[in-house]
Symmetry: D2
């Protein structure tokens, strides 16, 4: 069977990782990445020999790349002739404009969390609602925090049922290297509920959710404290066993040195992962506690890479590569080396 | 009636503020402050004209002060002759050694949160268990986080009863100007439960408590997300009303600009408060939410000054200045300009 | 003689401090402060009893203050009837628009560093070029870094002459409480030369200047490393003596605990200074070194308050309160408690 | 010819990178790495399949590894039987104790910057004084800052001669993931001169050097502003050309997005470098400026990996693999993919 033909539009923090993710899927083919200017990410791509073909949005953007000797293979318009689906990782809000282009060309697309739910057919999470995305044209992924959170909650929910979730999100306020946003010596509080709780309820309508979000001056991963009210009893050991069995969740111990968001980033560096990325969320063993039917646990969300697996799932769903949820996520996991 | 004679031992972050607090109590007299070296805090005291008399612990420490022209009024030993009670704000663990000295001299003492519970008669909180401290010799205050947390929980508990508390503490990792501790780009996770939850249960044994603590790179106040299971129903409006009526709690709105720990610090600066301190904890209005009998709310704890009012209460209790809880805290509040 | 009638337009970080500065000058009268919305700074002013009269720019802005019970005394237009001079501390660029209003009304004005040099008659520094401002209508202060830097360089220049200055500015990237700007785990480099060096040459055209500026994630003061090529020899001891004799410069020692920008902020807190502000720059004793005719030293610039004294000087110059430089700065210093 | 047999003692931040560096040298053989406990770095090594053999220092340390299923190949004592040279990357001060062991066994060793100069025969820098290390038994590398600084100064010195260097070092205070050190909202000033200037003079005794060091709350690289007094004239273009031709120096442009220490870290991530490391220092093009015989420029020092190339040079020198400086560094560069 022919491999699915994929393009990535927007070669930023997420777009770079989507391209790498697609390149790892044996049943997908990355036809090209699209950007509008020779950013550092594009320069790095050039320095390592252009493993991906590069396209611009408008022809006049080509000159800036030419000046640097960076080969451009054509325009988005030309690329759309060849692809089955676009992974749109444009800056928030731009995807909405791009959708009109994709729609006019009859090309399916998967958008990221920065776009509005209204522009798509399905608000999607590979593990939680894969079936809803099968065969649909326009999907939107949950944001990084929500993607990771739902992984953990869905895992519990499928085991014993989950009624309610209250989260406290300690949110990294910038990515490494950002100079356009940041906080210094400030923990900034957002009104309750945060959008992640609302989004979780959209994806998992049978769960009641609320929570607080506080922005803090870090760059290497969000920490979420989750209090889940389960439908049945579950011991700490059982919860840890469930989490450990999940291919996209790592259980780590503070006592071993995994004592922070950044310890996980550092560990990913030491594993030799590309860009020091990690696809898995982590559950800190010593933060898991139970009280009646309530399970409390803290997780780490590696914001730059966490949505890549679920976006691969989205391609599988939209193109009906697999109609079965578990079959789909298992393939994504295998190609990404998870589990 | 004669004013209570008070000494402050240890003129650091807490000791400075205790001294100022005592000086504001009309029925107390600050006989002196004690330290071992001419720190910046002592130099500042000198620059503003030595409003408090200064004592050293050992006679040989006097030379360093003499060299700078900073007058020393004597030794701790001499000071103990004159005082009714010592507020010990020594570095954690030193208070334990000092206690033997106070005991030998028959002087009462109040210790701070860095000491062990075992060295005192009562683990004390002005609002929550004032009566237990009345007439006792050695009291220990709750730590900054616990002091602020108990204020809010006690307030709810006395109104409708509180069964359980789950907290997520986003802890500032250093005080402004500290160079001996800190974190850079790290959110560090501690095992559950945190000591604040355990301490809360010690002070309020009828409440079940647990929680997570995460250290973050900020200096201007802890943020605690509290989930309290109440014994009765309470609306958001009722909760806000209760909090607003508490002399040691401020209700603030994110929409007004109180959107962080540091906004409260900045506000205290603009109020002209000495050292930009604030005695009150703050409840962020937009973070208060209810779900059945559960009330969720986020508070800000100004770590440097928050324990001052409850320490004044402790003096009142230990010396039996007042035997009635509400009478005692009301006097403290009046002299500190609270409520 | 009648006191000079002064208004402050813009009650933000700088405007608040200008208002307090004017209020301390015996020969000036603060007629009012102007703002457009009930910010936290205005709320704090209200909480402490409105020591200053408040005006709005447009009548329709009054409603928001009325709703909070904050008394408004009138509009900027009305206030301009009564004043001799405006201290404009509006956000950068707004001063330019305001100038047309002041000009139409024949009112003098002093602007801050965020405005362009072109809109004023004189780019002003109290110590370095007071005479140029005497009797002029529109003056602009140097920015915080430049103000502090020129203090030190002018001090050396008047003693032995200064030919050249090379600076490395380690710039705090936000003020305490800012949530609209910041950096996390980033030291951001600007192209050489920085504007401070260029500005220094504008004020002191006989000095050649250049330098590097690096933004770092701190809020409590800039650090500048200065390498000054002097016209004559000067020992470290002589340099320290000169600096120590300057009323707007403090000489501090790392060995005493003044080991950082934030140690000075903390010291100002402990001195009981309003808002923990400091008008003086600090020279770190142990960073002063000589090499032939080159003098190297590091200074701390308290960015929020450092321009207040020189702005008071500007009022004196513009209104010809004093025509003599030293007489003028001496009066400012006396009223601000400097020296 | 047989490959040089190398051991790495201490598998921390530097030791891990030394091991990888040795593994890349075709004429060296990494016989094993030594550590005392299953740190995260060792766990990562295990997770990726133990590409290096692991040894413990004391036999009783083996149990902890056994418990985790991490294979241990023996003890340091056994490893010393087989190796020609040890790269000691133990915590500062431990190397001194280890030296006695190496000496007793007649094994050569290269130490890192945390050890004292007194314990070695030569204080070494691959480019600046390679010849001094040839055939010697015990070498010590310059620290990360000094290593990078000397690269740039030596490059200028060999071209036109350098008389004097004044540096301002903006030092990252912790490595990513560190929880045992850090600063929050503080720029901490050290007395002049910093040890890097003193070290530079030790390696390059014909250059006079001094400078200031300021610790700032970042983790991704030091920034050094260098003012070099050259013996001849050099234009900015010539300086950039020299730097660009150096295999261990990158010239980057702020205008292209290389505007901070962290932009370089991010770029290394995007290049797919292991651990997001970079061996090269970077010169920021727009910070290079001249004034007579003085050349000013700012460099970025990637503190975790910068010493690896010069340590490989040290092996070449100590074992007399090459006696010619340029031949030696060229081989190191080729195997590390530099230039």
């Amino acid at each position: 069977m022919a491999r699915a033909k994929v393009a990535v539009v927007g070669y930023g923090v997420i777009g770079q990782r989507l391209a790498d993710g697609v390149a790892l899927q044996d049943d997908m083919e990355l036809l090209g990445v699209v950007d509008v200017a020779p950013t550092l990410a594009i320069r790095a791509l050039h320095e390592i020999g252009m493993p991906y073909r590069l396209y611009v949005v408008a022809p006049e953007q080509k000159a800036a790349f030419d000046a640097l000797g960076i080969p451009v293979s054509g325009t988005l318009d030309e690329l759309l002739d060849e692809v089955d689906i676009v992974l749109d990782a444009s800056p928030g809000g731009v995807g909405q404009k791009n959708k009109a282009v994709y729609e006019a060309r009859g090309v399916k697309a998967v958008f990221q969390g920065g776009e509005k739910n209204e522009i798509v057919d399905v608000f999607f999470h590979g593990y939680a609602n894969y079936e809803k995305g099968v065969g649909r044209d326009y999907l939107k992924l949950t944001s990084c925090n929500t993607t990771g959170l739902i992984r953990a909650v869905d895992c519990l929910d499928r085991a014993v049922g989950c009624e309610r979730v209250i989260v406290t999100i300690i949110r990294r306020v910038a990515d490494p290297g950002d100079t356009h946003r940041g906080l210094v010596d400030v923990a900034q509080v957002e009104p309750v509920p945060n959008h992640q709780a609302v989004d979780l309820m959209t994806i998992m309508p049978h769960v009641e959710a609320t929570g607080l979000l506080v922005h803090v001056p870090t760059t290497h991963g969000h920490i979420i404290n989750v209090i889940a009210t389960l439908k049945g009893e579950m011991t700490k050991a059982e919860a840890l066993e469930l989490f450990a069995a999940h291919p996209r969740i790592r259980v780590v111990r503070i006592a071993d040195g995994f004592n922070s968001n950044t310890s996980l980033f550092r560990y990913a560096r030491d594993l030799g992962h590309k860009r020091a990325d990690m696809y898995e969320i982590a559950v800190f063993d010593e933060t898991v506690a139970t009280s009646g039917r309530e399970l409390m646990f803290a997780i780490n969300i590696p914001q730059e890479a966490v949505v890549i697996p679920e976006t691969m799932d989205a391609v599988r769903a939209a193109l009906s590569l697999q109609t079965d949820r578990l079959e789909a996520v298992a393939l994504t996991n295998r190609y990404l080396g998870l589990g």
